[in-house]
């Protein structure tokens, strides 16, 4: 039994680490479609993580979480973004934000930070939860990093969604997260996605670009 449990933990951590690696993959990619594919892969790994947690925690409602992650985040959102990118004609855009090497170094520093932060805080919690929380926290921070280092609105939205993936990873690792909360999170993300879509079109209509630098210096029409 002991052996079996250790193996379950190891697999859970391995899937969590896969989600984290996908987070690094998002930082590494520069082409929009590659970013979207990596995001879909991250959501897939997240669904696997949720399903595995459902198995080892014996919590059937987490299967529903896994299904939601699979359908919404691994399929619906990437497809919608794909469609948007094609519609907006920006699929050949290459990001030229902060250099990739530096972003990755900052990413590793953030992972170290989240480990240093999570381990002392959760001293009393179960081993499984602690390591998973450290992983989830890292995914959240990497999502944030992606949001602040990218100029393009689409990649910023992907960063936001990746951040949310990290939250979900934390939620499934902790015991006793009610399903209602997860469903409402999933739907609010979907609503946010729709709103972002509308905003993309509005921003582009206004500025002829999705590079948000133009937005930062914009101070309204001066008639």
């Amino acid at each position: 039994m002991e052996q079996h449990q250790a193996l379950s933990y190891d697999v859970a951590h391995l899937i969590g680490a896969t989600v984290l690696m996908a987070g690094f993959g998002l930082l590494y990619q520069r082409r929009l479609f590659a970013v979207l594919n990596t995001f879909a892969f991250q959501a897939l790994a997240l669904a696997a993580a949720a399903a595995w947690q459902a198995r080892i925690q014996d919590a059937p409602h987490l299967y529903a979480t896994a299904a939601i992650a699979l359908v919404f985040k691994a399929l619906a959102v990437p497809f919608a973004l794909h469609w948007l990118v094609e519609k907006l004609g920006i699929h050949r855009t290459v990001e030229t934000a902060l250099s990739i090497g530096w972003t990755m170094i900052v990413g590793v520093a953030l992972v170290a930070l989240s480990i240093l932060l999570v381990l002392p805080v959760t001293a009393g919690a179960a081993a499984l939860t602690r390591e998973s929380l450290a992983l989830a926290m890292s995914v959240v921070l990497l999502g944030l990093l992606m949001m602040i280092t990218r100029h393009n609105a689409v990649t910023q939205v992907v960063g936001f969604m990746a951040l949310e993936n990290g939250l979900l990873l934390a939620a499934v690792s902790a015991k006793g997260m009610p399903l209602v909360v997860e469903i409402s999170i999933a739907f609010s993300v979907l609503v946010a996605m729709t709103l972002f879509g509308i905003f993309f079109f509005r921003i582009r209509e206004r500025f002829d670009t999705l590079d948000l630098h133009y937005l930062e210096t914009y101070r309204g029409d001066r008639h």
């Binding site: 250790a6 193996l7 190891d10 697999v11 951590h13 391995l14 969590g16 680490a17 690696m21 690094f24 590494y28 990739i100 090497g101 990755m104 170094i105 990413g107 590793v108 992972v111 170290a112 480990i115 381990l119 081993a127 602690r130 390591e131 450290a134």
Partner: protein, 315 residues
Amino acid sequence: MNAAVLQLVQIVLVVALAPLVTGWVRLVKSRLNGRRGASPFQPYRDIYRLLQKEAIVAHSASWVFRAAPYVTFAAVWLAASVIPTFSTDLALAPAADLIALVALLAIARFWTALAGMDVGTAFGGIGASREMLIASLAEPAMLMVSFSLSLIAGTTAPVKIVGFVLSGGVGLDVSMGLALAAMVMVSIAENGRIPIDNPATHLELTMVHEAMVLEYSGRHLAMMEGAAMVRLTLFMALIGCLFAPWGMAQAGGGVDGILVGMGAFLARTFVLATALAVFETAIAKMRVFRYADFLGGALLLGLLATIFLYVSEAV
């Protein structure tokens, strides 16, 4: 069976098998590209043909140019001989160590780069310069992987790491997974495979390894090509023995153990060679300026492996 005999078998095996591995990778790639492809034994015939041919040496070449193929081949061969492939019971095993391995490969690379520059052609120079760029990025990553493995297993000797993994000292570990990913990236760079370098190219501005050996012919070229093939087999054996050593014969395992170990080694190499061919077919070569991102990624994965080791320790 004693360690000396097994060591001799291994020394012969790595060289005998290397052309077949390369031939198999080429065959799978051709099939995936919709071509028929040459027989997997073609590299043996190529090497034989090259050995029969006269070696032409440029007028401006010095002794370095003539010595480099032999030094390169010897260094790579020695490195390949001390990695446990089918058995851990090797006579040279106590001398084997991941850091020594990195050094041996660095010697081979240094001599190849020297030979590339020796004749004074532009291609050789650019190839040598790029090879050194790749080396300066790949070696730290490789050492980082060695460090995280040695922190896990408590040793940098591949034979002892194999023993540690086989005795169940490490399960499915996040650090091992990260180290494996980093190791695969380093191996791709060290062997000049796509996306870093295209091994199938013979005259392109972006070539690296081919550019350095462009001036070679006859038996010198056979040595250089042979060294590249043995290096590929070496890295497959290394990945296999560090991360999936199951079935490897231990000391005192008897003839049955040796046979099982041999079968497991061949199966591992076959799987890795096929995976390499599929990966190379699916991906495009990257720009030279992106090497730093790719290998920097490998270095950071190695670093993450070490970081996560401390998480597991703390838990």
